[in-house]
Structures are given as structure tokens and as C-alpha cells.
């Protein structure tokens, strides 16, 4: 078995695509129309374009438990997932200039430095730099 997809629940797929590409710097991989306004929409890291895909999934709009779970994680400040960066301070400054809101600035956590931001689509996301 191989891990090829990581799913992230989003409230608005177009808004998510804009944020994950224009702001975070991911690259769109697949965009396949499904029923209604739903899409099978994935992005990949520009550094690993054949690597794992992030599926921007509108589950909270169609499945109440997914919405509840996402809301509760958000309220508790818990990140839905995390991404790795080479220099978290640079990334923090770049994203802050682009208007991204951080609930936690880069913070030393022993073997890593971590920060948490709002992806504007219902999730907190953690950034990590390995020391």
C-alpha cells in the first residue's frame, strides 16, 4: 500500500485552492468536476510534484460530523495537519506580510520549531522546521 493522498476538509473549494496555491505556494495537480459544484481537487508541493497530494475536500458541507469535528479542532486551536519548511522564521514573515493570521508564532519545541496559522477555510495548520 502507498500513501498518496492527505485529505483536508475545506468549506469553500475555490477559496481553498486560491489560498493553498497563491498564498502557501502549492501547485494544483488535479481538478475534476464531480456532482453539483463539488470537485476532486488536489494540490502538491512545488518541490515534490510527484509526491503526496493534498485533497481539498468539502466534507464539512455535506457531512455534519465532519463539520462538527473541524469546528471543534478550530476552537481548541488544534492544527488539522502540518507542513515542513526549511526556514520557519522566513516563512512566518512571508505569510504574515500576505495577511495570514498566526495563533502561534515560531516557537521552540525541542527538536523542532513550530508555528500555527489559520488557512481561512476552517482549519488551523501547523508549520514545522526540523532543527
Amino acid at each position: 500500500m502507498k500513501i498518496k493522498i492527505v485529505s483536508i476538509p475545506v468549506r469553500d473549494q475555490q477559496k481553498a485552492l486560491d489560498f493553498y496555491t497563491d498564498v502557501l505556494g502549492f501547485v494544483k495537480k488535479l481538478d475534476v468536476p464531480l456532482s453539483g459544484e463539488n470537485r476532486w481537487l488536489t494540490v502538491v508541493s512545488k518541490y515534490e510534484q510527484d509526491g503526496p497530494e493534498l485533497l481539498l475536500e468539502p466534507a464539512p458541507n455535506h457531512f455534519e460530523p465532519s463539520k462538527v469535528y473541524q469546528d471543534e479542532l478550530m476552537k481548541a486551536g488544534i492544527p488539522y495537519t502540518q507542513f515542513y519548511v526549511d526556514n520557519i522564521q522566513e516563512e512566518f514573515e512571508r505569510l504574515t506580510k500576505l495577511g495570514v493570521e498566526f495563533s502561534m508564532k515560531p516557537t521552540d519545541m525541542g527538536t523542532v520549531i513550530a508555528a500555527v496559522f489559520n488557512d481561512t477555510c476552517g482549519n488551523n495548520i501547523q508549520l514545522v522546521e526540523e532543527k
Binding site: 481548541a76 486551536g77 488544534i78 492544527p79 495563533s103 502561534m104 516557537t107 521552540d108 519545541m109 525541542g110 527538536t111 513550530a114 500555527v116 488551523n124 532543527k131
Partner: protein, 130 residues
């Protein structure tokens, strides 16, 4: 303060409060990351951190879950995969990542990945050219 930040503070207090130990582990990892292609012994790593071999192994394993030697092996295999995928020959890859014997490199690679380096190269380099 969110629940998550409270939890992180608690984790930092309980798991990462000993800065000296964290520094030993982190700096050992960094040394391996930049010198994986050279001869690295446990004696050398311990000497660099002014500590005993036994303490170094304990501390490193506490923060990374594996020993420095296991980390070095993993790092070499990870780099070997990159070189093989880019088309480097098995022998060139072997010497580039710090091995002296193609046999020992091949055996280790197969132990870690399940396939020999030549098959891995065939499967990845050839595939990337299609």
C-alpha cells in the same frame, strides 16, 4: 490561550525541559546530516559533544527514537535513493555516500528497502525517463 497551546507548553515542560540534552541530540543530528558521507564513529560524535558514548546514545534515542548509528544509516539510504533515482550507478552511489564496499552497501540497502539498489535504480531512473 487555546487548548492546543496549553498542551504544547505542557509537552515542552515534560519532554524538552533539559536544554543541554536537547542540544546534544540536535547538534549530533545536524552533524550527521552534513557529514553522512564521511567516516563517523560514535567516539567522534561523543567527543564533539563532550559526552560519553553511552550518554550520547541514550540522549539521542530519547529525542529521535533511534540511535545515532541508525539515524546515520537511514540518512545514507535516503541519499542513496536520491542518487540512484537521478541515474547515478550503484558503485558511484556507494562511494558517494561514504561506503567502502559495494557488497555491504547493497546488503544494507536491500535490508532497509526490500529491494537491491540496482533494481531500485532500474525502477525509478528508467521510469523517470519514460
Amino acid at each position: 490561550m487555546t487548548y492546543y497551546i496549553q498542551e504544547l507548553k505542557r509537552i515542552k515542560r515534560t519532554c524538552f525541559s533539559n536544554k543541554v540534552q536537547v542540544d546534544i541530540a540536535v547538534n549530533t543530528k545536524r552533524y550527521i546530516d552534513t557529514n553522512f558521507d564521511k567516516e563517523i564513529s560514535l567516539d567522534l560524535l561523543a567527543h564533539l559533544r563532550f559526552t560519553s558514548k553511552y550518554h550520547l546514545i541514550r540522549v539521542f534515542k530519547k529525542y529521535y527514537g533511534i540511535t545515532p548509528r541508525q539515524y546515520l544509516i537511514n540518512k545514507r539510504v535516503e541519499k542513496a535513493k536520491i542518487f540512484l533515482k537521478a541515474g547515478k550507478s550503484v558503485s558511484d552511489t556507494c562511494y558517494t555516500i561514504g561506503f567502502e564496499s559495494i557488497n555491504s552497501f547493497s546488503n544494507l540497502f536491500k535490508t532497509k528497502t526490500g529491494i537491491s539498489p540496482s533494481i531500485y535504480r532500474k525502477a525509478t531512473f528508467d521510469k523517470s525517463r519514460q
